[in-house]
Symmetry: C2
Amino acid sequence: MRWDALEEEPCSLARTVAVIGDRWSLLILRECFLRVRRFEGFQSRLGITRHLLADRLKKFVRYGVLRRVRYQESPARYEYILTQRGLDLYPVMMSIVHWGDTHMVDERGRPLLHQHKNCGKMFDPVLVCSECGEPLHAKEVHVHSGPGAPASAAAPGERRKQVSSS
Amino acid sequence: MRWDALEEEPCSLARTVAVIGDRWSLLILRECFLRVRRFEGFQSRLGITRHLLADRLKKFVRYGVLRRVRYQESPARYEYILTQRGLDLYPVMMSIVHWGDTHMVDERGRPLLHQHKNCGKMFDPVLVCSECGEPLHAKEVHVHSGPGAPASAAAPGERRKQVSSS
DNA sequence: TGTTGACAGTTCCTTTTTAGAACTGTATCT
DNA sequence: AGATACAGTTCTAAAAAGGAACTGTCAACA
């Protein structure tokens, strides 16, 4: 499948997957949220091939998720720093972590704990409705076509365009 | 990188990425949440190669994200249905969709809108702290080593084991 | 002065994955 | 009888990823 095909799908999930939807991208972002900023830092912590790393960093910069900032002149050296757009991926990252904490831990328990500075407590992330504040569950949500939908879009059971043959 | 290496990382994000961290897995899950259940359904809607689809479905069943249910005898025919563990991925999916809605829409607007049955309103998903209910932001969270951490784990700035060389 | 190391990549070649299309085998529909 | 639905499997070609070495600039060390 071509990557840029995904980006043009009339689906916000597919478009986001075009940006972060592979193993390395997600692991690189994990490091970003842990304050890693430099090429060598990512490479040595992850064991990713340098080629792939260069590629993914470029992609993140292109999509505005990371900013490439020169921190030293001659030789020019750059750091990769999360933009606001990148920071906005925090709910995605935390949701992924929380699923792992719930379903993939071994007998020793969670690798990491999270403390909310505002209230001081160890917490789990909860996804709630912006309107009523109640926790969200798949079965309590109706999906409707929006303005950016193709002819008639993906409410359950409706047909949608294919990824590849479009 | 070997897939099973990821699964054994002392990191809930990496372990979850081992299950859902590739383009096709996420797109297949999207279809699951839109009530697609059958091999032909996934294949024709996504344009994924049949080989890959068979592979990913097996993986999801192995990880308990989908259940393979016989809906017809001779010839045996199966459906793939989200388990509770699969349904628990809803926050991950919705967070991804919401990032796309915020940062990847074109001039026409969102492809899909979501309505909360409980309160009747169109909503956005918001990730909040389970303890105080406030929205979560990366900079307001402290990370601590948990019981399942390696020797000393990934609080910001701490060293952690590499992915590849372990 | 020469050597080593940090850093941010690039180049080259091998191995693994994925794409694409055709084929299987049972059963129902026309 | 022939076409179609369905859930896959098999085969080969093309694309992506892995792995290791190499570049070029500079600082620190001996």
